[in-house]
């Protein structure tokens, strides 16, 4: 446990000045600010539509969520998996890392957990900023109806789904970035995978859920709406989430075997 903890502290210490770390903060800040600015500056076009609170929140948070779920999230995860490993490839530091008196599992798990944490921070900020900026918009444009509905549960549920559904991609990309030191191979495979995921998810292919890359997009589809129920209230643990978690676990274990057999040439 101790070696896992110190490996994790070291991961943070090493990367706190890198783009990978700041991307987790900048990405939500930039995207949420842009969307909110859009809602602020074009309030004269949105107000005549007379959305009730729930619909306004759905439109507003959907603007961020849809872009995230479809495109940015898979690429962000691919980038995280890449950069956590690339810091060692680039500096040729695998050899010193593995020559430290720490067990290999800790070193590997700390890297993985760190990537998970960064994704978590990023999505948490997305949810929090969407929530906060929504109420800020209400203050700036008093005619908006953001105050009529509390989106907390909806935001927590959707971002939790997005988070859990992306772990499958993370574990898979993590192995690719661990094995290959170059940027193009994991990125290329990730890119093709993501496009495949988007296509299969939007075509509603029945086996789309078997492709890790399509899971974030699938997870965000609102499939069943109970009559008379809140359309924004939905189940978190669906088939996509289970699939993602299974993929995440399996690839995580495979990754460990790759690490433990890794010869440092």
């Amino acid at each position: 446990m101790r070696s896992l903890y110190i490996s994790l502290v070291s991961e943070f210490y090493k990367s706190r000045k890198t783009l990978a770390f700041w991307a987790a903060i900048l990405l939500p800040v930039v995207i949420c600010s842009l969307v909110s600015f859009g809602f602020y500056s074009s309030s004269d076009k949105i107000l005549p539509l007379n959305y009730p609170g729930l619909m306004l929140w759905a439109r507003y948070s959907g603007a961020t969520l849809n872009v995230m779920g479809m495109l940015i999230m898979p690429f962000y995860v691919i980038f995280m998996a890449f950069s956590v490993n690339n810091i060692e490839h680039k500096n040729d530091t695998w050899k010193t890392l593995f020559a430290q008196p720490l067990n290999k599992f800790s070193i590997y798990a700390a890297k993985y957990i760190y990537a998970v944490l960064l994704i978590f921070i990023c999505l948490f900020l997305f949810a929090a900023l969407t929530f906060g900026f929504g109420y800020l918009l209400q203050i700036l444009v008093p005619k908006y109806t953001f105050n009529q509905y509390n989106p907390a549960t909806f935001l927590i549920n959707s971002y939790s789904k997005l988070f859990l559904s992306s772990l499958g991609i993370l574990s898979l990309q993590f192995i690719l970035s661990l094995v290959w030191s170059d940027f193009l191979k994991p990125m290329g495979i990730g890119f093709v995978g993501t496009i495949m995921g988007i296509v299969t998810a939007s075509l509603n292919w029945q086996y789309a859920y078997l492709i890790p890359y399509s899971l974030p997009a699938l997870a965000l589809r609102i499939t069943k709406i109970k009559k008379g129920g809140d359309p924004l209230a939905f189940e978190v643990f669906t088939q996509e989430i289970y699939t993602s978690l299974i993929y995440a676990t399996v690839f995580f274990v495979i990754g460990y075997f790759v690490v433990s057999k890794k010869s440092i040439k």
């Binding site: 210490y13 890198t18 500096n91 010193t96 593995f98 020559a99 010869s263 440092i264 040439k265």
Partner: protein, 302 residues
């Protein structure tokens, strides 16, 4: 307890079909500075990586402090500091941050970082990004990183690579200080014999993965038999004369004759003999066979 800090027993290592290390039996006594010599590509770095368990060795072939390495990886690594090939440094961090990161990993006080920077003379550059370091500075930071845990055994892979003469002398003195005053064992690899000759107490010579010589530096010196070089006129006649008088001629050039050195007395006799027979001897001196040549001889013949 074993008296060897490092002991390998018939170590073999292959990359695929390619044999890198063959039947290598290193014995590095505690407290020694062991010069690990060999030309480029001889298997030095591979051996050092095996000693760090970065490359998996077959079971029961590698022992550090008397313990089998694969079964005691963490306990062994706690006692070892290493500099392998190019120093592994995070370029986006400063020299000090690199050391602090290592302190975090080792669970030791961060104040150690400043101490190490002072030791290797990088105090002024402590807060400079290490990508901006010169090769020599990187090498010194690498040594600092190896030393930060105060290890009993240091594995230094060509530590003077890229250093200027001053830096080389500093590293040399540092190694001697660490071994004599702090009782550390140092294995230092190099492809330059002159480099090792000045510091090492023990020497191992490796070529194409095989150990060709292992022993103390004095034993290595013994291998190089001293010669008597005689600068004389009419070398052809002089050589013929000496041969006639029962001396063995090792080598003969336009200006000098080389015969095996036996004793100063015999050298005197040879001198007298030559002069009495009308030859002019301008100088006569004992010459040790250059170790550099010896090294080349040993490595060439295999």
């Amino acid at each position: 307890m074993s008296n060897f800090a490092i002991e390998t027993v018939g170590l073999n290592f292959n990359f695929g079909n390619q044999t890198i290390v063959k039947d290598l039996s290193l014995q590095v006594p505690k407290g020694s500075i062991y010069g690990f010599l060999g030309p480029n590509g001889a298997g030095k770095t591979t051996t050092i990586k095996i000693l760090l368990n970065l490359l998996q060795s077959p079971p029961d072939q590698v022992f550090l402090f008397g313990k089998e390495i694969n079964r005691n990886r963490i306990a062994t690594l706690k006692r070892v500091g290493a500099l392998v090939e190019q120093p592994a440094i995070y370029g986006h961090l400063t020299g000090k941050e690199n050391l602090i990161n290592r302190c975090i990993l080792l669970g030791i006080k961060k104040s150690k970082a400043d101490e190490m920077l002072a030791l290797v003379g990088l105090k002024e550059a402590a807060n400079k990004k290490s990508t901006k370091y010169s090769l020599g500075m990187k090498q010194r930071l690498g040594i600092a990183l190896a030393l930060v845990s105060d290890p009993e055994l240091l594995l230094l892979d060509e530590p003077t690579n890229g250093l200027d003469p001053n830096g080389i002398i500093e590293v040399r003195n540092l190694m001697i200080d660490l071994a004599t005053n702090h009782n550390k064992t140092i294995l230092v690899s190099s492809h330059l014999l002159a480099e090792i000759e000045r510091t090492a107490t023990h020497v191992g010579i490796i070529n194409k993965g095989q150990l060709l010589f292992q022993g103390t530096i004095d034993e290595l010196h013994l291998l190089s038999k001293p010669m008597l070089e005689i600068d004389v006129d009419k070398t052809g006649e002089a050589a013929a004369f000496l041969r006639q008088s029962g001396y063995e001629i090792t080598d003969q050039t336009a200006k000098k004759i080389i015969i095996p050195f036996v004793s100063t007395k015999v050298s005197g006799t040879v001198n007298t003999l030559l002069i009495q027979n009308g030859f002019t001897v301008s100088s006569l001196y004992q010459q040790r066979k250059d170790l550099e040549n010896l090294f080349l001889d040993i490595t060439k013949n295999n």
